[in-house]
């Protein structure tokens, strides 16, 4: 799209994905956000940096996606005013990110929600952990969090979590209901805040991918690849082709493992325990194959900057290839069972519906976005190596209900199985690890289509091979607020099923 009227002069960042960077002022930022939104673009991430030791003041970074790739806007924020223009009116997904920026850095949008998001009284309201002069804080103070009240005849609240009856991550869901019907859902997260961004600043550059892999354990490959991609962009190197193919193999294996788990869990949440048993068996076999080939069930630390940690020998390749046809066949059978099961389809169809127009308005992305007509997949749209050689088929549905998200999962799993076959059969020869010169750039961006959606890592190197700032961004940031809309008008008892059909990360967005 055309930014000439904003007098924007973007600089293209080196790296595997198309990223343009430009410095803007507040007015231009809002203008570009509106223009990008009107042309069908999205907000991907919004985060802040403490730059008082360099240029003075702070920096707010907004990552937008348009048809040419990622557009990274940098807005200098004055250290005395600590204030930036609100973009949540254009991109509703920005609201929680802006609140997190305030909790961590003390920068405040000029208008909008001022409640804390990540801060649960774990540090005082006037302490900002991501500032460079932060040196620990007082013991926690308990605070009230003002939930939005719904009043009316017969309206009552059901508060669920953060501790749940099952072994799942912590999150609080406040339902306002009449009888069984949900009038409003308000989410409250941040219980899994671990200070990951602060921890990055104490790690060496060449080691950061290990922490990145642990941002959200189910997306270990996506995050570590995004980190490595950002670092390789900074250093101006491209990993050997064999390493890239192996990375893609890991990423697709991660996608398949998660989809298998979700498909089983979705059956179970609809009371169809046979589905869970069968998919759990398939997933377990798959994870054990991971263990044999890569030494880790969830492919933790399989990737390193410059390549991959381990290589596959002929026997391991054979082992991986042999596992594909039986899984494809079993998946076909299970898909038929799911499709033909009246009870399951009755639960799936129409539940948690996000129509395409709402999905576009709220910026739903990734797998759930593709189930709501938001046909956008990084592996197809801005295919980096090796995806440029694979011609990935993008799955998609328009209905936007649980059934659509189930169907997209089935399609993507089958497509990923095909990709695994191609990747294993045509694996190029050569090294799996290249050399890593010291970083030349100031900012590197990694952008990878994980199983849940695109994950983004923005990496700034410090002096002597340290990390100055690293911001990992999970698509759950954008998609969690959509669930609040998806459940309106549904019955409370269907919420677990709807929630599972999105299966978003708590840890990935609590950081």
């Amino acid at each position: 799209m055309d930014y000439t009227r904003f007098a924007l002069n973007p600089e293209t960042l080196p790296g595997a994905v198309p990223v343009r960077r430009a410095t803007v002022n507040g007015e231009t930022l809002r203008g570009i956000c509106t223009a990008v939104h009107e042309s069908g673009g999205l907000l991907h991430a919004l985060w802040g940096c403490d730059e008082r030791d360099r240029e003075g003041g702070y920096l707010l970074r907004v990552a937008l996606q348009d048809d040419a790739g990622l557009l990274l806007l940098e807005l200098p924020v004055d250290a005395a005013q600590l204030c930036f223009p609100n973009v949540a009116d254009t991109f509703p997904a920005a609201d929680r990110m802006q609140r997190a920026v305030h909790d961590l850095l003390g920068l405040r949008p000029q208008e909008g929600d001022t409640r804390p998001w990540l801060r649960h009284g774990s540090w005082p309201a006037d302490c900002f952990p991501l500032r460079r002069d932060y040196a620990g804080s007082e013991p926690p103070t308990a605070e009230d969090y003002p939930f939005v009240r719904v009043t009316g005849n017969g309206v009552h609240e059901i508060a669920v979590g953060p501790v749940h009856a099952g072994t799942i991550e912590p999150g609080h869901f406040c339902f306002s209901v009449v009888g069984e019907k949900v009038l409003r859902l308000e989410e409250r997260f941040g219980y899994a805040h671990k200070g990951i961004e602060k921890r990055f600043e104490t790690l060496p550059l060449m080691d950061g991918q290990r922490l990145a892999a642990r941002v959200s354990g189910d997306s270990a490959v996506a995050f570590s690849w995004a980190y490595c991609m950002a670092l390789e962009g900074l250093c101006g190197v491209t990993p050997p082709l064999r390493a890239l193919w192996l990375r893609a193999l890991c990423l697709e294996r991660e996608r398949i493992a998660n989809h298998l788990g979700d498909l089983g869990a979705l059956g179970n949440d609809a009371g169809f325990a046979v589905g869970l048993a069968q998919f759990s068996r398939l997933k377990e076999d798959w994870l054990r194959t991971n263990q044999r080939a890569f030494g880790a069930r969830y492919l933790m630390d399989a990737l390193v900057p410059g390549g991959t940690r381990c290589d596959l020998d002929a026997a391991q390749r054979r082992d991986l290839l042999d596992a594909l046809p039986p899984l494809t066949a079993e998946l076909g059978v299970l898909r038929d069972i799911y499709d033909d099961h009246t009870g399951l389809q009755d639960r799936f169809t129409g539940a948690g519906c996000v129509p395409p127009a709402l999905a576009r308005r709220l910026g739903l992305i990734g797998l759930s976005g593709r189930a709501s007509g938001q046909s956008w997949d990084l592996r197809c749209d801005h295919a980096h190596a090796p995806y440029d050689a694979l011609a990935v088929h993008m799955a998609g549905r328009l209905q936007g209900d649980v059934a659509a998200r189930v169907a997209v999962r089935f399609e993507e799993t089958l497509e990923s199985l095909r990709l695994c076959q191609v990747l294993l059969e045509n694996l190029p020869g050569g090294d799996v690890r290249g050399s890593m010169p010291p970083p030349a750039g100031r900012l590197g961006i990694g952008w990878i289509e994980g199983w849940r959606g695109p994950v983004l890592v923005a990496l700034e190197p410090g002096a002597d091979g340290s990390i100055r700032r690293c911001h990992p961004h999970d698509p759950s940031w954008q998609n969690w607020p959509v669930i609040e809309h998806a459940v309106i008008g549904n019955i409370v008892a269907d919420f677990p099923l709807i929630n599972k059909s999105f299966n978003l990360s708590y840890s990935g967005q609590d950081l």
């Binding site: 949440d269 325990a273 099961h341």
Partner: protein
């Protein structure tokens, strides 16, 4: 009432109380097998109950005495029901005291107490569970009554042992009305015992629970009693079903010791088959959306009424 009948009565209740967790364990084991899982074994419910009895109870600070009382009320109601239901033999002296209508009332009383206890603590889940439990209950009870009425019309009595005696030891006849009533009863059994497709006894998702949500706050011995009475309720319902629709093999009122001993393995065998059938139904179905439960139970009621009409119109 002589001493022999008293002993047989007591034996029946004690056997029911002891065997109930075994039936539950069998159903769960069959479910595991049907899902290609190994399962925890048929004795798992006993281990669970034993474990719970060895734990210290945690009770909410706001709990009233009612909350502590309800597990005992539940257990006692189910024991009493076991005394009325002819699971092994029909010569039950206690059965004179209560007919099928009283039996339905007994189940309803237990349910009301459970709902009260669920609301007693004041948590959102308890009230939600109580609300849903009563919704299922008030739709299931009329259907159950209609099933009993169909059977009573055949035997001209509402006393369960008399009905069973007529069906088992009267002239051999095929009753089409009982076929309708049988399907209706099966549907009521699934709903009343919180089984799939109405409720999911294995779920950990608070928001989808019906029965489980009402007992979320119970722990230790209270929970053990509740779980035991849940098992006993399933046992009772299965025995009612077997007595009404497959009454052959039950010892008659004028029994010889040989008949009594023979009734035990026959009933055991029938329970094994019924338990497997239940597990099969549960494995093949998904849970209904909660507002489909009324449709499900309305179907049960309709079938029971059809059974009644078939009997009145065809006289069979």
């Amino acid at each position: 009432m002589n001493i022999t009948t008293l002993i047989t009565q007591l034996t029946e209740v004690i056997l029911a109380v002891i065997a109930a967790p075994l039936l539950m364990g069998w159903v769960n084991q069959c479910r595991s097998w049907l899902q290609n899982r190994r399962g925890a074994g048929m004795l798992q419910p006993y281990r669970q109950i034993r474990k719970l009895f060895h734990k210290d109870a945690v009770i909410a600070a706001h709990a009233s005495p009612l909350f502590r009382l309800v597990p005992y009320v539940q257990f006692a109601s189910m024991c009493l029901a076991a005394a009325i239901i002819p699971s092994l033999w029909t010569g039950l002296p206690f059965a004179v005291a209560a007919d099928t209508i009283a039996l339905v009332g007994l189940f309803a009383t237990a349910r009301v107490f459970l709902a009260l206890a669920a609301m007693d603590i004041g948590t959102a889940f308890g009230s939600m569970g109580a609300r849903r439990e009563m919704l299922v209950g008030f739709l299931a009870e009329p259907a159950l009554l209609m099933v009993f009425f169909t059977a009573s019309l055949i035997s001209h009595s509402t006393s369960l042992p008399t009905i069973v005696e007529t069906l088992a030891h009267g002239r051999l006849a095929i009753y089409p009305s009982l076929a309708f009533a049988g399907v209706a009863f099966l549907m009521v059994l699934l709903a009343e015992n919180a089984r799939i497709p109405v409720d999911n006894p294995a779920t950990h998702l608070e928001l989808t629970m019906i029965h489980e949500a009402t007992v979320l706050e119970y722990s230790a011995r209270h929970l053990a009693l509740i779980e035991w009475s849940v098992a006993l309720k399933l046992f009772n319902y299965t025995c009612i079903g077997l007595a009404l629709f497959l009454p052959w093999g039950l010892a008659a009122g004028t029994h010889s010791p040989g008949d009594l001993l023979l009734a035990i393995p026959i009933t055991g065998l029938k329970l094994l088959v019924a338990g497997f059938g239940l597990a099969l139904i549960e494995s093949l179905n998904a849970k209904l959306r909660i507002f489909r439960a009324p449709e499900f139970l309305a179907t049960a009621f309709l079938l029971a009424v059809l059974g009644l009409l078939v009997h009145l119109l065809l006289g069979s």
